[in-house]
């Protein structure tokens, strides 16, 4: 188990390093970052100034090393636009996005796991068809349009829920549904497929041959095994949702990372963009690493080797 964890950790660190290179070099996509940073209508002198302040005249490899070293110490640079330290702004906004992501994931799991299990118990039944329809619709519905439709009905027509801001928990209801609904199909399909496979396995037959009660067979013997891949998928989907939070936070005016990155992109705040891409990627890498560990813990074949 420890060997397994160390191996995964090694891969995670390598991926994180690669991601850091990619996020760092992103700002060179625009050509000369100094021009982009100086803003429109900047004089040659201003640009030269920016170039010197940011150290763009140095070799790229030195710039990267310097940037990485400072990033590791928690210094993600300075936002000229906000006149603030990037790291402190990012970590101030991060909790909101995490809360949104977590509640969206909970919504998705609560909806999709029972539905997937029921669909697998009775394949081709009404409930199975209903579940597949939910999945089909979920996959095809643009999340921003779904969010606007929610606002239209629950916020405007029926006035049940607040449509923007983060003042209370009610503010998170619609965003969580809009964000979570998008990942529901994948989780549901995987639960259904996993349960179908497990339910037709030999050890389920053994459990039934022992005379165990149907509920024991279903929950203790079947779900326990079918849920293992769902755990990894949930981590992956949580990562996707952090990315997807850009759209949802923008629509619901939620002051999280997604909203911040959108604003930063619109005003070409390069250090902020760089930092958020890096932070979200690292969070994703951490999540998948934790999911791997959890998988190892849930699956004795990995845990006890």
């Amino acid at each position: 188990m420890i060997q397994f964890a160390l191996k995964r950790l090694g891969v995670a660190v390598l991926v994180a390093l690669t991601v850091s290179i990619l996020s760092f070099s992103m700002i060179y996509l625009s050509g000369d970052p100094a021009i982009a940073l100086a803003g429109e209508g900047a004089s040659e002198e201003d640009i030269e100034n920016v170039r010197r302040v940011y150290g763009f005249e140095r070799p790229i490899i030195v710039q990267y090393g310097d940037w990485l070293l400072r990033a590791l110490q928690g210094n993600l640079g300075h936002s000229n636009y906000l006149k603030a330290d990037v790291a402190s702004v990012v970590f101030e906004r991060l909790p909101t996005t995490m809360i949104l992501g977590a509640s969206a994931l909970i919504f998705a799991l609560v909806l999709s796991i029972p539905l997937g299990v029921l669909a697998a118990i009775r394949p081709n039944s009404m409930i199975d068809r209903f579940a597949l329809t939910v999945a089909m619709i979920g996959q095809a519905m643009p999340s921003f349009w779904f969010a606007l439709t929610l606002i239209l009905w629950f916020g405007i027509n029926w006035r049940l829920l607040p449509i923007s801001g983060t003042a209370s928990w009610q503010n998170f209801v619609m965003p969580s549904i809009a964000l979570g609904y998008y990942v529901t199909p994948a989780v549901m399909r995987l639960t259904r497929a996993g349960m179908l496979e497990v339910l037709s396995s030999d050890y389920i037959r053994t459990a039934r041959a022992k005379g165990l009660r149907p509920m024991t067979v279903l929950f203790k013997h079947a779900l326990r095994n079918a849920i293992i891949p769902v755990v990894s998928l949930s981590a992956v989907q949580f990562g996707f949702m952090l990315g997807g939070s850009i759209v949802i936070e923008t629509i619901f005016a939620i002051n999280g990372l997604g909203f911040l990155v959108w604003e930063s992109i619109l005003r070409a705040d390069l250090p902020m963009m760089q930092a958020i891409v890096l932070v979200l990627s690292i969070i994703y890498i951490l999540l998948t690493f934790l999911a791997d560990l959890l998988n190892g813990f849930l699956d004795p074949r990995i845990r006890v080797s």
Partner: protein, 313 residues
Amino acid sequence: MTDATKSPSVPQGGSILSSGLDDVLEPSPGSLMRKRVFGHTGLVIGGGVLLIIFLMAVLAPVISPGDPYDQDLSRKLIPPIWHDSDKVTWDHPLGTDLLGRDYMTRLFYGARISLLIGFAAMLISGVIGTTLGVLAGYFGGKVDMVVNFIITTRLSMPVVLVALAVVSLVGSSLTVVIWVLGLLIWDRFAVVMRSATQQVRGLDFVAAAQSLGCSTRRIILSEIMPNIANHLIVIATIEMAHAILLEAALSFLGLGVQPPDPSWGLMIAEAKGMIFFDAWTITIPGIALFALVLSINLLGDGMRDVTAPENRN
């Protein structure tokens, strides 16, 4: 495997007479396939809707009631004809937008953009992902490790975020959006093609081709590719739908297709402010997007069922 699942595969042989007749009356593979295709509700509906949208896009200049860029503020925000309002007119069956442009026309032209971006991005990502996946699956070992690492790295960067950032830095245009999406969404192709290749690679006919001294290139192209093509088609539909949704999201956030071009995502973004009084401006392009993506997904699922019926469930 229980006896129950084995027995149906036992060849006919009970009566010499009946087995002879069965051979004669057995439908041809082509007619069997037609029967399966047209017997599959999802496939028929998906294919039908997609065909309609495709025709809308191709015939847009012919069937559109107006010009997609023709503004006229005097006739702005006319509601669609089913609305109970004295402004409605058959000149604009789906109404007009904030700038008085005919909504139906913009919807037709928007279909062109969605289909173009979806198809082109799918093509680019398909080439990248399939190449990586097949190489990893065929060679295994170090190649596999490297490809896996590339896939993991790609997956750890959020698509929407990276796409937005890159588009904003490079500058937004149709071509840029296509390339950015194509370069970002190849991961599923790679993952699926990798495992499909691994499976096929272990089969006897590949070993046979190797023992005959066929070149690696030939084995991959003529032994492996035909056998993983059905997976490829299914992933292609999924990724085309994915690319269409992403384009819409980028355009909605103002960093995809730029005004005045009529992208459905952009139409929804422009209509966002009208949600309180003219919600149909949001609903109509949303339903169009939903129908397009749903039809592509139905088509993909249907093709999976039809080409590999034993893989259902």
